[in-house]
C-alpha cells in the first residue's frame, strides 16, 4: 500500500520496520529505541508473553513459529533458523495494510511476503529433516497485531495473530516434502549446511551474516557496506537496484553524471 507521508499507517509501518531491525540485529536490548523496555512483551496467537531477551536468545523466527510438521524451534537454534528461512527466501518484505486504531492501542493488519528462491530445508517437530523444492513463486502471508505504545510511541505489549501454517502451505503447495531422519552426531546447523551445500545466496543477503555466508562473503559484504555512508544506504533503499555499486557522494556532485545510466531520474 502507498500510505500518505505522515499518515498513521505509514508511521506504524515505519515503527515496526525499525523494531524488526532492532530485534534482529541489535543484541543489546539497551540499544533498542522502538520499545518501552520496562513494559515490553511479545506474544503470538495468544501464547505465553515473552520479553525481548527471549527473542534475542532464539531469534525472531523461532520466537514466532510454533512447532509443526515442517519446522520446530526445538530443533533449530538461532543460526539454523536463519539458514532455513533466509536461504530459502532471501528477502521478506513487510507492509501495513490497514490500521484500525491509533495510540495508545494500535491495531493493524499486515502483509509479509517474499519469493521462494532456494529449497526449503528445516527440522520439524519430530526432529526430521524436511525439504521442499524451490518453486520460485511467492510466499505471502497476513496477520493482525494489537500493540500498546507509550507517549513516545514505543512498543509495550505486542500481540500478534496469524496462521503460522499459511507460510508452510505456500512453501509446499502440493504437500510434497521429503522427510528424513536427522543425521546422527550432527547439530541442526551442520546438517543444514550439508543439505544446502552449493546454495549461494550472498547477493540477496541484506547483512554480513556469518550464519549464512562464508567467511569470504562476509568480508566482501562488510567491505561493500563500509564504502557506503548511512545516507547512501538510506538513499539506496529508496531505489537503486539491488546490485548497483555504491555511489559515493564525492562522485555524485554532478547530478547527471553520478547516477545510474539506466535510470537517470532515479527510482521511486
Amino acid at each position: 500500500m502507498t500510505h500518505e507521508a505522515g499518515s498513521l499507517p505509514e508511521l506504524v509501518q515505519n515503527l515496526v520496520k525499525n523494531w524488526e531491525v532492532e530485534a534482529s540485529f541489535k543484541p543489546n536490548i539497551d540499544d533498542w529505541r522502538t520499545i518501552d523496555r520496562e513494559n515490553y512483551s511479545f506474544a503470538i496467537n495468544g501464547g505465553k508473553a515473552e520479553g525481548a531477551e527471549a527473542m534475542l536468545k532464539v531469534g525472531t523466527y523461532n520466537a514466532i513459529i510454533a512447532p509443526n510438521e515442517y519446522y520446530s524451534p526445538d530443533y533449530s537454534d538461532f543460526a539454523s533458523s536463519h539458514k532455513t528461512f533466509k536461504r530459502m527466501m532471501p528477502t521478506f518484505a513487510w507492509e501495513v495494510l490497514e490500521v484500525y486504531s491509533g495510540p495508545p492501542t494500535v491495531s493493524f493488519r499486515w502483509r509479509h511476503w517474499g519469493q521462494m528462491k532456494n529449497d526449503y530445508v528445516g527440522f520439524n517437530n519430530k526432529g526430521e529433516k524436511v525439504t521442499a523444492k524451490a518453486h520460485g513463486g511467492s510466499i505471502d502471508i497476513q496477520g493482525v497485531t494489537v500493540a500498546t505504545v507509550n507517549d513516545k510511541v514505543q512498543l509495550q505489549s505486542v500481540r500478534t495473530w496469524f496462521d503460522p501454517m499459511d507460510m508452510f502451505r505456500q512453501i509446499a503447495p502440493d504437500g510434497v516434502v521429503k522427510k528424513e531422519e536427522k543425521p546422527k552426531n550432527m547439530s541442526p546447523a551442520d546438517a543444514l549446511d550439508e543439505a544446502q551445500a552449493g546454495i549461494k545466496a550472498p547477493e540477496e543477503q541484506e547483512l554480513p551474516d556469518e550464519f549464512i555466508q562464508s567467511k569470504e562473503e562476509v568480508k566482501e559484504t562488510i567491505e561493500r557496506l563500509d564504502k557506503m555512508t548511512v545516507e547512501e544506504k538510506m538513499s539506496t533503499t529508496q531505489g537503486l537496484p539491488a546490485d548497483h555499486p555504491a555511489v559515493s557522494s564525492s562522485s555524485n556532485t554532478d547530478a547527471e553524471g553520478g547516477r545510474c545510466p539506466f535510470m537517470p531520474g532515479g527510482f521511486n
Binding site: L8, K26, A93, L97, K233, T237, Q238, G239, P241
Partner: protein, 71 residues
C-alpha cells in the same frame, strides 16, 4: 486509509517533531553507537527494494475493503 476515526495522531501533542523511527523506516540503521550483531548495521536495501516494487497496489486494497464491506 482507515485512520479517519483515530482519536489523535501519535505523539503530536507531546512534541512537535515525531521520533525518527516513526518517520523513517531505516532510522535505526543510522545508530552508529549501538552494538550490532555483525559489527555493523545491516543493509536492508534489497528488502526495501522488494517492498517498493511489490507492495500491494492501492486499487487492490480498496477493492478488498469494498468486498469485505458487502458481507
Amino acid at each position: 486509509m482507515a485512520s479517519a476515526d483515530v482519536q489523535q495522531p501519535p505523539a503530536q501533542e507531546a512534541a512537535p517533531a515525531l521520533p525518527d523511527y516513526l518517520t523513517n523506516p531505516d532510522a535505526v540503521l543510522g545508530d552508529n553507537d549501538a552494538k550490532w550483531r555483525y559489527g555493523r548495521a545491516p543493509d536492508y536495501s534489497k528488502t526495501r527494494k522488494v517492498f517498493a516494487e511489490s507492495k500491494l497496489p492501492d486499487v487492490a486494497m480498496s477493492l478488498h475493503v469494498r468486498h469485505n464491506a458487502v458481507y
